[in-house]
Amino acid sequence: MEEAVEMVTPGEVLGKATDLKAGKGAYAASHNNTIYASLTGFRRIQAPPPASHDKRPTVEVTGHKAHGLVPEPGSVVIARVTKVMARTASADIMCVGPKSVREKFTGIIRQQDVRATEIDKVDMHLSFRPGDIVRAVVLSLGDARAYYLSTAKNELGVVSAESSAGATMVPISWTEMQCPLTGQIELRKVAKVVN
């Protein structure tokens, strides 16, 4: 892998499309077959994988400081529920994978994405409450306001929640959590803890 520490800015020409393939942070303009940078960063050229037919190396621009993570479809995120409504719950995405994000992303969990079975009988209030920490998977980039998240798997759902008495609750089953102070059981869509 050839590494060049050349700093480029958006709009700079990186090469010709006949010689190079546009990777991350670069794009090919169709009208004159040139590759331009779309980010500020260092220009790197990666050799083509030996198995592919295309023999062009890939040029990519990687950030000069570590960019914050951005949720991608398919990534597992940790989010805190902010609002629970009749058919949706809003959540603030805090971590993507193991790393925390630098800026706030909003996610929405729709009623049909809460669990895999009996999706029309889901009661949002019995699955999430404001303040719960949930593990979810990003379904898609969603609309302008929020990512679409899903908790429809055993290991997804509420990871940590506080009871109305203020104590962190202990999960009992995939639908119930119990407060250690008062013994009250509250209903949530609980994530299965896999050891």
Binding site: V84, M85, A86, H125, R129, P130, A165, L181, T182
Partner: protein, 249 residues
């Protein structure tokens, strides 16, 4: 100096409590299940009051705090009077004198389908039932009873609506019938709908009757049963005078 510290649970029942009072001590009570109603909160072994009001107890095991406010806190299965504020694609937004707007789904009517969605103007008064009332969410309302029948729910036409406290609404709906309504019903004929959120609607053939009924109900809040009857006779005497004057014209 004697320290009268009789903190047995029965001592607080039917007396006034303020927020922060520890009204029940679970460690001193034997193994029993208690149901806590509105206004009470559990902190490990102590049950403390969150509202100012009277602590009530009903057999076998229900405790709750009764108080009268102008603001209504939505509760499931309450019947209330709401005013339409806006209509969206799936719901009507209804003002119910509570902390948040109520949502009335457009299909929550008897025989309601996408084809015959009722059109309510802004300001329509509706008699509704609370279906879901969770903390932090907008309450969900309905114009049918639990089995799906219309059962008197829906828009109220004509008449006069006035606001009262929640305590007075509960008194008007108590059984046996409260003295005001019983005495009014003996002399006058009128229609009345009471919302537990502090709104009352009255309709009658003549405006004089409506005014007398409304004034009687509004005056009766702080009066005892006997005082209510006296107040009523005074009101109705003046109504008789007015009617006689009208007929002489």
């Amino acid at each position: 100096m004697e320290n009268k510290q009789s903190s047995s649970p029965a001592s607080f029942v039917d007396s006034t409590v303020v927020p922060g009072d520890v009204v029940l001590d679970l460690s001193s009570m034997t193994n029993q299940t208690i149901k806590l109603g509105g206004g009470l909160r559990q902190d490990c072994d102590a049950i403390s009051a969150m509202k100012a009001g009277t602590l009530r107890f009903s057999k076998p095991n229900k405790y709750w705090i009764e108080s009268s406010q102008k603001r209504y806190v939505p509760c499931v299965e309450d019947t209330i009077l709401g005013i339409v504020v806006d209509s969206k694609a799936d719901n009507f937004l209804i003002d119910i004198k509570g902390p948040a707007m109520g949502f009335l789904p457009v299909l929550a009517f008897e025989g309601g389908t996408r084809r015959n969605i009722p059109k309510f103007e802004v300001g329509t008064l509706l008699y509704l039932r609370v279906v879901k009332a969770n903390f932090g969410m907008n309450p969900e309302l309905s114009c049918t009873d639990a089995s799906g029948k219309a059962a008197e729910f829906g828009p109220l036409k004509d008449g006069y609506m006035f606001e009262t406290s929640t305590g007075l609404s509960r008194k008007l709906l108590s059984s046996p019938t409260c003295p005001v309504l019983e005495a009014l019903g003996k002399k006058l004929s009128f229609e009345i709908a009471v919302g537990l959120n502090g709104r009352v609607w009255v309709n009658a053939a003549s405006p004089d009757t409506i005014v007398v009924v409304a004034n009687a109900i509004m005056n009766s809040e702080s009066l005892s049963g006997a005082q209510q009857i006296i107040m009523l006779y005074d009101l109705m005497d003046s109504l008789v005078v007015v009617l006689l004057r009208e007929t002489k014209k």
